[in-house]
C-alpha cells in the first residue's frame, strides 16, 4: 500500500493532483462537453503524451528534444497504416486500376502492396510496432549521440534535423506514405466504425486511461533512484560519471521511454482524429510540444496536461479570430513563461497553494486563539 502511495502516486500532493486530474478528465469534461468538443479534448490529450515525455526527458533529464514529433508521428503512422489497409478492401477500392491497395498508391502507379505495408494487415503486429519501432529508432539516435557525449543545444538541433528529414521523406515518397496529404479516409477498426459518436466516446476514455497509466509509470520512474540520477545527470553530469555510472545508458533509456510515450499519443491521435499527416511530425508540432511542457511546468507530470489543454484551446479560439497572430502570440507566451515562470502553471499553482495553506493556517490559529480567549473569558465570568 505504501508502495502504491509513495512510488506510483508521489505522496500526498502527487495523489491529490492525480485524483483531481482524473476526475476532471473522466467525469467533469464528458458531462459538460458535447461529443464534438470532447473529441477535440481527446485530440489535445494525445499531445499531452508528448508533453509528459518531455517532463522526463527535458524537465528531469535536461535533454531538450525538439523532435518528439518524430515519435508521435511514427506511432500515428503505424496506426494509420493498419486502418488504411482495412479501408482499402478490394470492394471499397473496386474503381481503382489496382483494387485492394490504398488509394494514394494507385494514384502513384504502384501496383502491388509493398512488403512493409503487408505487415500492417495484422492488428497485433501494428500494436507491437507502435510500441517497439519508435523506441528502437530512439535507441539508434540516442546511442549515436549520447555514447559520443553529444548533448545540450547540439542534441536539440540534431533531433530537429531528424524531424525535418522524416517530414521530407514522408512528403517525397508519396506512393508509400500518402505524401503531404497523409493517410486519410480511415473508417473502421476490425469492422468497427471508428467515426461513430460511440466510438469517439470509447476512444476518449481509452485515451484518458492510457494517459493516466503513462503518468503513473513515469511517476514510478521519477520516484526511484533513477529519478534522482536523472536530476543529478542534469546538474552535474561529471559527478555522476565519476560515481561509477555509465551516464549514456541512462540518457538512452529515458529517450527511448519518452519515444514510446509519444508514440502511444500518436496512435491515439490517429484513432480519434481519423487521419495522420506529416504536419504532425515536423518542426512546428515538435516545438509546440515543448511549449506545452514549458507552459504546463516541465517538472510536473500533471501540470503539462493542463498546459497542453490550455494552449490548444487558446489556439483553437485565437486562430479562428486572428489566424495570423496566433504564432506570434504563442512564441511570446513561450518566452514569457521561460523568463518569468520557469516552472510553468505547476510552479504558479505550487507557489499559490503554498501561500494559501499558510494563510489558512494563520486564519485557523487566529480563530483558535479567539475561541480560546472567549471560552477563557466565559470561564472567568462564571466561576462555578
Amino acid at each position: 500500500m505504501t508502495f502504491v502511495y509513495e512510488k506510483l502516486m508521489g505522496g500526498r500532493s502527487g495523489l491529490t493532483g492525480f485524483i483531481i486530474l482524473a476526475v476532471f478528465l473522466v467525469v467533469v469534461l464528458p458531462l459538460t462537453l458535447d461529443s464534438f468538443r470532447l473529441n477535440l479534448v481527446g485530440k489535445y490529450l494525445t499531445y499531452a503524451f508528448a508533453a509528459v515525455s518531455l517532463v522526463l526527458l527535458w524537465g528531469y533529464g535536461g535533454i531538450l528534444s525538439l523532435g518528439q514529433g518524430i515519435f508521435f508521428g511514427l506511432g500515428g503512422y503505424g496506426m494509420a497504416m493498419f486502418l488504411k489497409l482495412e479501408a482499402s478492401s478490394p470492394e471499397n477500392t473496386a474503381i481503382q486500376s489496382t483494387p485492394g491497395i490504398p488509394d494514394f498508391m494507385d494514384w502513384n502507379q504502384i501496383t502491388s502492396l509493398p512488403w512493409f505495408w503487408e505487415l500492417f494487415n495484422s492488428l497485433t503486429f501494428t500494436i507491437i510496432a507502435i510500441l517497439v519501432l519508435p523506441a528502437a529508432f530512439a535507441y539508434i539516435i540516442g546511442a549515436a549521440m549520447f555514447k559520443r557525449r553529444v548533448g545540450g543545444v547540439y542534441f536539440a538541433i540534431i533531433t530537429q534535423v531528424i524531424a525535418v528529414i522524416l517530414t521530407v521523406l514522408i512528403v517525397g515518397q508519396q506512393g508509400f506514405t500518402g505524401g503531404i496529404n497523409g493517410i486519410t479516409d480511415l473508417r473502421t477498426m476490425n469492422g468497427w466504425d471508428i467515426t461513430s459518436d460511440s466510438a469517439k466516446y470509447i476512444f476518449y476514455f481509452v485515451n484518458c486511461a492510457l494517459l493516466l497509466m503513462v503518468i503513473t509509470a513515469s511517476r514510478f520512474i521519477l520516484t526511484s533512484k533513477f529519478g534522482s540520477l536523472l536530476l543529478a545527470i542534469r546538474d552535474k553530469e561529471d559527478r555522476v560519471r565519476f560515481s561509477g555510472y555509465d551516464v549514456s545508458n541512462f540518457k538512452i533509456f529515458i529517450f527511448c521511454f519518452a519515444a514510446l510515450v509519444s508514440a502511444i499519443g500518436g496512435a491515439m491521435f490517429t484513432l480519434q482524429v481519423g487521419f495522420m499527416s506529416p504536419s504532425f511530425v515536423g518542426i512546428v508540432p515538435s516545438i509546440e510540444m515543448v511549449i506545452f511542457a514549458a507552459v504546463g511546468g516541465r517538472m510536473s507530470l500533471i501540470g503539462v496536461v493542463y498546459g497542453t489543454l490550455l494552449i490548444n484551446f487558446g489556439k483553437t479560439i485565437f486562430s479562428e479570430s486572428f489566424p495570423e497572430l496566433w504564432l506570434f502570440l504563442m512564441g511570446g507566451l513561450f518566452i514569457a513563461v521561460v523568463m518569468f515562470f520557469p516552472n510553468g502553471l505547476a510552479g504558479i499553482w505550487h507557489d499559490y497553494s503554498h501561500h494559501l495553506t499558510k494563510r489558512l493556517i494563520r486564519c485557523k490559529d487566529w480563530i483558535g486563539n479567539h475561541l480560546s480567549n472567549i471560552t477563557n473569558r466565559r470561564a472567568g465570568e462564571n466561576p462555578q
Partner: protein
C-alpha cells in the same frame, strides 16, 4: 622496473605523458603510491597536478605511459569502470547535486543499482539507510540529512562530496584542493577527517595550503612543469633548494 610486472603498490604510474597541442602538461611521469599511504602533491599553478588526477580517473586520455591501480591498467578503461575498480575522485570545486537533499546525494552515490534497471528497482533498505547515516556521521552532516544540499556552507559541501566518495569505499581516494575556501576551523576538522578516512586506503591529495599539508602529509611530491621536482617527507621538501626556488620562495 619492468612496466608489466606486478607490484605491491596501490598505484604505479610509469612514463605517463600527455600533450595538448604539443604542450606537455605531464611529461614522462613516474609515481608510486603505497597501500595506506596519505600522499600530498604540491606545486605551482600549471604544474600539472590536476591533470595527473584527470589522467588517473580517465577524464583525460594519456598520450603515452601506463597507470596501474592494484596491477590493473586504467588507461584503457572508461571512467565509470575506473570508479568501479575502486578509484574515487573529488573535484576542485564542490561537485554535489544541489537540488537533492544530503541524504539523496549519498543515496545516489551508493554503489548498488548502478545500471538503468537496477536503479529503477533500487530499494532504500535498512542497510542502505544505515550506511548513509554512518557516512553522514563521519562527515559531520548527520543533522543535515534532510537539508537541500545547495543550502549547505561551502565547507559542508566539500565534506558532502568526500562522503559521496566514502560511501563507495574506494581503495584510492583522490582529493583536489579539499580545503580551498574553508575557514580555519573547517580546515582543522577536514585534516582530522582525512586522517580518519585514510585508514585502510590510499589517499592522494592536491593542496596549496602549506599549513594543511604539514598537518596531514606522510609523503609529499612537488610537481613542476609536468615533472617531479622533489619527493620525500615534509621536512626534506621544505629544505630543498629547488623547491624553495620555484615554489615555496614565492
Amino acid at each position: 622496473m619492468n612496466a608489466s610486472a606486478n607490484t605491491d603498490f596501490t598505484l604505479s604510474i610509469e612514463g605517463l605523458t600527455v600533450s595538448f597541442d604539443g604542450f606537455k602538461a605531464v611529461d614522462d611521469l613516474n609515481f608510486y603510491l603505497d597501500k595506506n599511504e596519505l600522499h600530498v602533491v604540491i606545486g605551482p599553478n600549471g604544474a600539472g597536478k590536476t591533470t595527473v588526477l584527470d589522467l588517473i580517473c580517465g577524464k583525460t586520455k594519456s598520450t603515452s605511459g601506463s597507470i596501474k591501480f592494484l596491477n590493473q591498467e586504467l588507461t584503457k578503461l572508461a571512467e565509470h569502470e575506473i570508479v568501479r575498480a575502486g578509484v574515487g575522485r573529488k573535484f576542485q570545486t564542490p561537485s554535489i547535486y544541489e537540488n537533492l537533499t544530503v541524504f539523496e546525494n549519498l543515496e545516489v552515490s551508493y554503489p548498488s543499482g548502478r545500471g538503468v534497471f537496477g536503479s529503477i528497482m533500487f530499494k532504500r533498505t535498512e542497510e542502505v539507510s544505515n550506511k548513509i547515516h554512518e557516512i553522514s556521521r563521519e562527515i559531520m552532516l548527520e543533522d543535515a540529512l534532510e537539508t537541500e544540499s545547495g543550502l549547505l556552507s561551502h565547507g559542508q559541501k566539500q565534506w558532502l562530496e568526500i562522503g559521496m566518495l566514502l560511501i563507495q569505499d574506494p581503495q584510492l581516494l583522490m582529493l583536489d584542493e579539499p580545503v580551498a575556501g574553508m575557514s580555519v576551523k573547517e580546515r582543522e576538522q577536514t585534516a582530522d577527517l582525512l586522517k580518519r578516512i585514510s585508514k585502510g586506503r590510499s589517499v592522494l591529495v592536491i593542496e596549496h595550503d602549506m599549513d594543511f599539508v604539514k598537518r596531514i602529509a606522510q609523503r609529499v611530491t612537488v610537481l613542476h612543469q609536468g615533472k617531479i621536482l622533489a619527493a620525500g617527507d615534509m621536512e626534506k621538501i621544505q629544505n630543498d633548494p629547488n623547491v624553495i626556488e620555484v615554489y615555496l620562495g614565492h
